[in-house]
Symmetry: C2
Subunit: 538 residues, 2 copies
């Protein structure tokens, strides 16, 4: 064997990708085949414990583990996968500091890129619903929760305070339930540190499309979970789903509207775009694989596992997106890749699952293991034991156990670890009746209507006067920015509207550097000032 060693390339650093690398490090000698893993982050997230980051019962960096330590012999590249060329066996990777693509040739490829949240056809969701998949999502959510509590504490208007204290989760599966349970625990326990919120109620709502939560479990356990959550103050809306969202509220299919500043969505999921566009057979919208987890049409070259592949259990049912399944899939794939590299016995995937576990927040859980159903404190202890044991590495185990212990002894953390709130040029969605800004507000952005219709109104002596109707392609909001005064009119939405928001800082930089850009707005402001109104753009 004097040929070059075979290049093994693993895409994705979730359970599937990382465990494949770990198994391969055991099965192959370093000189047999170098292993490279590409992941957007340099850590692997222990998904089952991710919701605990919200309440801080596990510290931020303890719920993740550095991939370089989990797979010490694997070359990690912390970049994004931008293209997979199955025909030529080349993967293209996003640029680093230098704006150049990196291309890697592979002999054996593992696609374990998971799934993404897909808000297609749900207006305003992409702008306003927070996903909950990554450590970054968990951090953003935690910081957002602290932000709304801080603002609720200052807010004098009771209606706005209620809105700030309302939290909506879309999806009543494990993920949605665990996120809501942790969120509710956290808000309840830190509220007492806010002088003006101590006696204010907060509202937690789960919206679930089916007629019960936790479809992954037996009905009895789901009913138990619903009872516990309701006892803890969580509202559960069944047989309904999120349809749209604005920065002010969640809108359900049934027409119900929930005013809120916090909307988390754990559904629905779809293939990542670069997996979506692969030229290979599909099954139920996912990548088609055989029982050896080889990608159809690319057997012996490409394996697919985890949430992006359509994998079946021995009994023929589709595999759920859980850690226990991904780990077994990784083992099957690694054995088969090792066999492809140096020969040997091949493996077939046929894992049936050991059971399911779901946390309902501090001191309560539901579990269904080897057919036995457990609920309450016992299930919660079981949950903690099982997941702690399965966390790889002594270091992490000690850190998590320490965090849990300290969490029992002391009040939860309350520091907001935001790096910055500022956001640049962005889109936003509004529904009919929404107020984009109000007369008297500070001028903080300029708006361009991309879709929809709004009206500009001015209040004078207690009467509202319609100044103009604004539609697609029109700009507004420039007057307050150019004159450095407060808004001289209110803009209200007439039909569902999408706008581009250009914040003041960006607007000012652009108008100084690109005069043609500035002129568009200064001419418009002049015309409107002359018309004594907020007349439409000519």
């Amino acid at each position: 064997m004097s040929t070059d060693p075979k290049q093994i390339l693993i895409l994705g650093g979730g359970f599937g990708g990382v465990y494949t690398a770990r198994y391969l490090e055991k099965l192959l000698r370093p000189e047999e085949a170098p292993i490279t893993l590409i992941n957007r982050e340099n850590y692997w997230v222990y998904q089952p414990m991710l919701p605990e980051v919200i309440s801080g019962s596990i510290g931020l960096t303890n719920v993740v583990s550095p991939i370089r330590r989990l797979c010490p012999r694997t070359n990690l590249i912390m970049r994004e996968v931008e293209d997979i060329d199955l025909k030529n066996q080349i993967v293209t990777i996003s640029p680093g500091f230098r704006p150049r693509h990196l291309q890697l040739k592979y002999d054996h490829l593992v696609i374990a890129l998971g799934s993404i949240t897909d808000f297609h056809g749900m207006p305003g969701m992409i702008e306003n619903a927070m996903p909950f998949r990554t450590l970054a999502d968990a951090m953003v959510l935690r910081n957002h929760l602290i932000h709304v509590l801080e603002e609720a504490d200052v807010e004098e208007n009771p209606e706005l305070r209620r809105q700030l204290l309302t939290f909506v989760v879309g999806g009543g599966g494990f993920s949605g339930v665990e996120v809501m349970a942790e969120l509710n625990d956290f808000v309840r326990s830190v509220k007492r540190n806010y002088l003006r919120l101590r006696n204010q109620p907060h509202r937690c709502v789960i919206v679930q499309a089916a007629d019960r939560i936790l479809p992954e479990m037996s009905e009895a356990l789901a009913i138990f979970a619903q009872r516990i959550l309701r006892q803890r103050g969580v509202e559960i809306i069944l047989n309904d789903r999120l349809k749209a969202a604005t920065s002010e509220r969640a809108i359900l299919q049934s027409g119900t509207e929930i005013p809120c500043k916090t909307l988390i969505s754990t559904v629905p999921s779809a293939l990542p775009p670069i997996v979506q566009k692969l030229d290979c057979p599909r099954e139920r919208g996912k990548l088609g694989v055989n029982t050896g987890l080889e990608l159809k049409d690319y057997e012996g070259r490409v394996w697919a596992l985890g949430d992006c592949a359509a994998i079946k259990t021995a009994a023929g049912t589709i595999v759920p997106p859980t850690a226990q399944h991904a780990i077994r899939e990784a083992s099957t794939a690694a054995i088969n890749i090792a066999a492809a590299v140096r020969g040997g016995k091949r493996a077939e995937f046929g894992f049936e699952g050991l059971g399911t576990l779901g946390s309902l927040g501090h001191g309560a859980a539901v579990a269904q293991i080897f057919g036995v159903k457990v609920s309450g404190l016992l299930a919660w202890l079981l949950w903690r034991c099982i997941y702690l044991m399965k966390m790889p590495g002594l270091h992490r185990k000690v850190r998590i156990a320490t965090d849990w212990l300290l969490y029992l002894l002391f009040a939860p953390e309350l520091a907001q670890t935001k790096v910055a709130f500022e956001s640049g040029i962005r889109n936003q969605h509004f529904e009919p009746g929404d107020i984009i800004f109000e007369q008297g507000d500070l001028g903080n952005s300029v708006y361009v209507i991309e879709e929809g219709e709004c009206e500009a109104l001015r209040e004078q002596d207690g009467e509202w006067k319609l100044l103009a109707t604004l539609s697609r392609g029109e700009y507004f909001g420039e007057m307050a920015l150019l004159s450095n005064q407060t808004r001289n009119a209110t803009v209200r939405v007439r039909t569902a509207t999408d706008v581009l928001i250009i914040p003041k800082a960006d607007f000012n930089k652009l108008r100084h550097s690109v005069p043609a850009f500035g002129e568009v707005f200064s001419e418009l402001a002049e015309q409107r000032a002359m018309a004594g109104s907020l007349g439409a753009r000519h």
Copy 2:
């Protein structure tokens, strides 16, 4: 006493502000005077331990403490102070979710807004030098360090790899030395997890204006510190200072240039703008106060303390910006405010300082306490004991002690907790000879020259041809974005240049929504394509 209770307003949540609130909570009964504290964050940072966040020897949230828990009776408002009107006794606060200012009237005001880093007259520093004052700064730095290590591990070009592995700190006072010591420890210990970096040297440089580091200490200790740092591989450049910076290098007064991707500056400091513009007497550029820490001309109404005030010790020397002094200042101010509210004895500030302590990284420090000089391991243990004892609250003490213990047992954390790398429309500085982009690069942004001159060059058959000279007000980089191809020319800087960078995503949003903006660039691209070059804008 049937009058309304007096409103006490504290601006700033550092040692000065938080300790003033804590002392006032003890001195006054709740009904005597409500206390409000305004701070941009909801936590107080334990500055002496902040550098330890870099190496992760203390967890992110353990180096801070929630202000609501430190001052449970104080109303915290997590916003920015935007204006102080001393004449009318009104403080204006930044808007929250709603774009409205909040105005607060006070009877007694405490100004404890600290200082900011001031890069005035140092081109490129604001864009490229990282400050180190807040928790956010520490997180950004830590994540940046991991990012450059990840990129260095992928980089094939030895020169660029060296640049990625070079770390420069401007300022050799306590802050600069401690940051560098932690950074060096961290890089050295995690490097071994990077397969390709294990045997690569890294370079750490401290640039100090004086002829020795640690001017706060005796010469003997400073010399000891220099020896320890040099033993640990830190270069110390004396009698020189940072003059300018680009994204590729640090430029010193002497002309020395250090290619690097990491530049941290701990000097120089200035008053925050809103303190700067106050109409009141100054001393040495800071707010003038009397021995009762009352702001001159506003005695009995306004107190100023911490880094923004010119405070003298009993011996008449100016007070250094340390925690021990700020705490004593807070005590003096609180006693005098309580006296103003309900009468009683007044206090004068006259604290001389107990000593100074500086950490040199794991296992070494220098200390000078009550005139006794200590160095090495003993000083380091002293450092840890003293600062742990002074951290308020049992919870934090336990957490920090636990972190230290686990750090001794296990390898340091390596997970990057970045939320996002993306940055919007921004400025950048280039020095003569710099390459803004290279022929063949991906087109990721459009540039506007705000100052300076560049040349566009194209390589053909091994020869470089000058296509155009670009100067102030001209745009470039639009061709690759509009055609979705790689750069067809190299842009090199001729004289020191400042540009506005418009990233691809923002550029595309703007040109679709604001046609006049898009036309500027598409017309330009057309002209340039016709001229077969990157001709200047007409």
